[in-house]
């Protein structure tokens, strides 16, 4: 639809406002991370002096580096497991006919509605009993409750968008099921699987509830939970700066991912309803 000159000006203003609103807190925390020492209390938006001190502190602490390692490892494992399981289920729902098909997606939807704390509290007790408390496995398992539903929903909608005709044409052309899967379905599904993996990773990376409920040491504590237990470079300093620096470090990868794959992420979350 043609937008009038006036509408375009409004659009421009709105776009700028949206960008400022969206990025302001991010810029703020970056700015905080560069404030050193007492500058923290300067109550201004920008630092009076830019310094890398906080980053040095943060990378010097075991707490942060082990939290980073934990988050990375646990999130990657949970993402991989989710995507693999979801891929099988999504293929079945999108392509095959079997009774109970509808319940697969309904159960995914239902589980996504469960409050995390309602799952975490019984696990707090259970994990202590069977020794999974404060372990990587103890987090990967409940993370699946967070990542599986979205993975299943996203992958199913991706698979559905691949025309059935293609596999049928391959069959008629003489392909075995495996050949059709490998030569036709896999290349076409790859972008969808990749996008789903990104979304699942975001969810796992973001978790806080399970992180603080099911861990007690830096053996398995992921970054969001670790941030809540941060202390500063010395006992007398507020952890504010350290937290800010740590926050920036864990935010960079996700921002980069968003920048690179913005289009795919939108496609994944809107089920492909929005083009480009």
């Amino acid at each position: 639809m043609r937008t009038s000159k006036r509408a375009r000006i409004w659009l421009g203003v709105a776009a700028i406002a949206v960008v400022v609103w969206a990025l302001m807190p991010v810029v703020w925390i970056v700015s905080l991370s560069f404030k050193h020492g007492d500058d923290i209390d300067n109550k201004q938006f920008w630092p009076t002096q830019w310094s890398w001190d906080n980053y040095k502190t943060v990378f010097g602490t075991d707490l942060f580096t082990s939290a980073l390692r934990n988050s990375l490892g646990i999130s990657l494992i949970a993402t991989t497991v989710s995507v693999v399981l979801a891929m099988f289920a999504a293929y079945a729902v999108a392509r095959l006919d079997f009774p109970g098909k509808r319940w697969v997606l309904v159960s995914a939807l239902a589980v996504s509605m469960f409050p995390a704390i309602s799952i975490a509290t019984p696990l707090f007790n259970l994990w202590r009993e069977i020794g999974l408390y404060d372990t990587w496995a103890g987090l990967v398992i409940p993370y699946l409750a967070l990542t599986l539903p979205l993975s299943m929903w996203t992958l199913t909608s991706f698979f559905r968008q691949i025309p059935r005709d293609l596999e049928q044409a391959a069959q008629v052309d003489g392909a075995t099921t495996w050949q059709a899967f490998r030569r036709i379905l896999v290349p076409l599904a790859a972008p969808g699987v990749f996008t789903t993996a990104i979304l699942a990773f975001f969810i796992a990376w973001n978790d806080f509830v399970f992180g603080i409920t099911l861990t007690s040491t830096d053996k398995a504590r992921p970054v969001p939970a670790a941030l809540a237990f941060f202390s500063g470079a010395s006992e007398f300093q507020q952890p504010t700066a350290a937290i800010a620096a740590a926050s920036v470090v864990v935010t960079i990868p996700v921002v980069v991912l968003v920048m690179l794959f913005q289009r795919r992420i939108v496609a994944g979350l809107t089920g492909g309803a929005v083009k480009g």
């Binding site: 005709d165 069959q171 052309d173 030569r183």
Partner: protein, 391 residues
């Protein structure tokens, strides 16, 4: 030798029967067209032949081998899908080469064959492009290329022209005809367009709601339709169907009386007081253009022209008429089934371009009574051939 033998094939989805006891023999090298309105089961039948649908009942033979339970991959058939089903991530070259690659054919041989097919279909300059960058007609040809390269037992086409615009459709239609002439392979072609059926088929099989209505050459279906449905389906504009009251010496039509000896009607219609009569638009002529000699020879109908379309070398005159309610319902229901939208019963006459008729005028239409098709009231039988000879 019969290439494909369809014997009493039936397809059921729960309570719904899509294909009902269809039997058809397709000879080697024959171009068989399966035609019918939407929902007639023609695509389902085709898919049963290729193996993408299970057969509920009946037998399918290729030559003397029963293939009911064979997977599509083992049937050695090539298919062109309605939406082309081109692999979007492969180039045109790779799309066409795909079947060969599956069978691990040597690279050099693949290249020779692909280029030969590309040349045949005028695709050589597009070999490096991906389907997204092709026009509809070009995609169509790639789909055909992929089918043709395999040298299969038979080619199956599932409404391949329905996604093309009118002009392109005519072009590709002739290409398909030429291709089949060149290759001489058995072809089964599904379409809802009776023009394609008439122009492409060696023989045509008309389906209605899953049942076979008539099989024969296009001419046979056009000139000797076995029932009202076939009569109304073949030909564009369609055959005019009019109610006719039976009188001892004439038939009473909405536009006039046609002299006719009722004694000629077969015994099966002895108790009826009305039948349905069919006459094709081109069999009606503007009486005023005829010499008196000729005019006396036939019969005439009079009516008022509601709409007149001038098409250059011919004109189409539309004359609406009132039919008794039951017939009106019957005829409009048939029209709906034939995928036409009209709620009105009308007579269509194809007039010579020289006719001076005008909209709103009364016109006298001449016809040869021998051209009339007579149908029983239920429309299930064309009794014209059963008429006793004129006295």
């Amino acid at each position: 030798m019969t290439a494909i033998s369809i014997q009493h094939l039936t397809k059921r989805y729960g309570d719904f029967t899509a294909v009902d006891d269809v039997s058809l023999e397709i000879a080697d090298g024959e171009f068989m067209v399966l035609v019918g309105p939407s929902g007639s089961g023609k695509s389902t039948l085709l898919r049963m032949v290729v193996g993408l649908e299970d057969i509920s009942d009946g037998d399918l033979y290729f030559g003397d081998q029963r293939v009911n339970d064979r997977a599509p991959r083992d049937r050695d058939l090539a298919m062109v899908f309605q939406n082309y089903a081109l692999y979007p991530h492969l180039t045109v070259y790779e799309n066409i080469a795909f079947p060969l690659r599956l069978h691990k054919v040597d690279g050099k041989e693949v290249d020779t064959k692909v280029r030969k097919v590309a040349e045949m279909l005028e695709l050589t300059e597009f070999l490096d492009r991906k389907p997204a960058n092709l026009s509809g007609g070009q995609r169509q040809r790639v789909a055909m290329g992929r089918a043709v390269i395999r040298d299969a037992h038979a080619y199956l086409f599932d409404e391949p022209l329905s996604n093309l615009d009118a002009k392109l459709r005519v072009q590709v239609r002739t290409q398909i005809a030429r291709l089949q002439n060149q290759l001489g392979t058995t072809t089964v072609y599904v379409t809802h367009d009776q023009v394609e059926a008439m122009t492409l088929g060696d023989r045509v099989a008309l389906l209605r709601r899953g049942t076979l209505q008539q099989v024969g050459t296009p001419r046979e279906l056009y000139e000797r339709p076995t029932n009202l449905f076939v009569a109304g389906f073949m030909g564009s504009p369609p055959m005019n169907l009019l109610p006719a009251e039976i009188h001892p010496d004439h038939l009473g039509l909405p536009f006039g009386d046609i002299p006719f000896d009722a004694a000629r009607l077969p015994a099966s219609l002895a108790d009826e007081d009305a039948i349905i009569v069919g006459i094709r638009p081109e069999q009606l002529a503007d009486a005023s253009l005829l010499a008196d000699e000729q005019r006396r020879h036939g019969a005439t109908l009079k009516g008022r022209i509601d709409v007149l379309e001038w098409l250059g070398d011919e004109q189409m005159a539309y004359l609406p008429f009132e039919a008794p309610e039951a017939i009106h319902k019957q005829l409009t229901e048939l029209q709906k089934e034939l995928d036409s939208e009209s709620d009105q019963t009308q007579l269509i006459a194809k007039l010579d371009g020289a006719s001076k008729a005008r909209e709103g005028d009364e016109i006298e239409l001449w016809l040869e009574p021998g051209d009339l098709h007579l149908f029983d009231p239920a429309g299930t039988q064309n009794v014209t051939s059963e008429l006793k000879p004129a006295a």
